[in-house]
């Protein structure tokens, strides 16, 4: 399906197939928004059901949460720079920024796992209360997305190194870029409503 090729467009948009794949990925992201909305809804309903267990005041510490936020936000920025380099046809720049992005992402996952381990040591497990069940499911789903994104992007980087920048590898890179930015968008709402809003006063 290489009909309707338009070489005046950026590499990742040149073939009809690529344009449809990118559109299809946006539709998937629409479904992801709804998936995360169900988890946010669950958290919002159950957020005050502590069952005698720890509350946000006992658990949340702004320093670690802010570090996670900055790590993910910066990784979203470097991922944007990677796509920017791709559009300048600079494969090495693209690969370098993608690696920086993944290192920041790995830092985020490490911080989050450390945070969870600390909570469990303080007696806050998934089984402790409805608040913590919904908390761990929402945060865990997001963390799992980031972890899978790291694995996915690693495979894309290997393809970029072995095959170079082609309309196909450019499209795949662009799509993982959309996915990565989306995870940062979800985190903005986690940061705001799961953490900040519970630490007021």
């Amino acid at each position: 399906m290489s009909a309707n090729v338009n070489t005046s467009l950026p590499l990742e948009y040149q073939t009809e197939q690529s344009r449809l794949n990118i559109l299809g990925f946006w539709i998937f992201l629409g479904a992801e928004i709804v998936l995360f909305a169900t988890l946010f809804a669950t958290y919002s309903v159950l957020k005050a059901r502590y069952a005698g267990g720890p509350t946000p005041n006992d658990l949340f510490e702004i320093k670690g949460i802010l570090t996670e936020t900055i790590l993910l936000l910066t990784s979203s920025f470097t991922c944007g720079l990677a796509i920017f380099e791709m559009r300048r046809n600079n494969r090495n720049g693209l690969v370098a920024w993608m690696i920086v992005t993944l290192l920041l992402g790995a830092g985020f996952v490490f911080m989050e796992i450390t945070e969870f381990i600390n909570y469990v040591h303080e007696g806050a497990t998934m089984q402790t209360s409805a608040f913590l069940s919904s908390f761990f499911v929402l945060l865990g789903t997001h963390g799992l997305h980031v972890s899978m994104g790291i694995g996915w992007a690693t495979m894309i980087i290997i393809q970029l190194i072995r095959r170079g920048l082609t309309p196909t590898t450019a499209r795949k890179t662009f799509i993982i870029g959309l996915y990565w930015h989306f995870l940062d968008v979800v985190w903005i709402f986690i940061f705001t409503f799961v953490y900040l809003a519970r630490m007021v006063g």
Binding site: I22, A41, S76, G80
Partner: protein
């Protein structure tokens, strides 16, 4: 949509700086002001929405595809609409009898 981007990624840098500012303003409002709880939720919620839109347009270039711009936009805004109904609807329904 630019095939050959210029040397400096201006939109990305601006988007990044704006995101950092929004994050720290939200943090400051939530933890270091004595506004009412309701006011704080509205302010930090609005800041989050602004930052999300910034990511969608400045980093993800949601409206750059000439061919699929309308489909993309309708799809994402419909998903956002569903998200609001799900969250606000659940909170509203479950607020009865509390």
């Amino acid at each position: 949509m630019h095939n050959h981007s210029k040397g400096f990624p201006l939109t990305h840098v601006l988007g990044f700086i704006a995101s950092l500012v929004l994050t720290f303003v939200a943090l400051g409002v939530a933890l270091h002001t004595s506004l009412s709880y309701k006011a704080i939720i509205w302010i930090i919620g609005s800041l989050a929405v602004v930052q999300a839109l910034l990511q969608l347009y400045m980093f993800m270039h949601m409206n750059e595809s000439e061919e699929n711009r309308a489909t993309n936009t309708i799809n994402i805004y419909f998903a956002i609409f569903m998200a609001i109904i799900l969250v606000a609807g659940s909170v509203w329904v479950m607020s009865f009898g509390m």
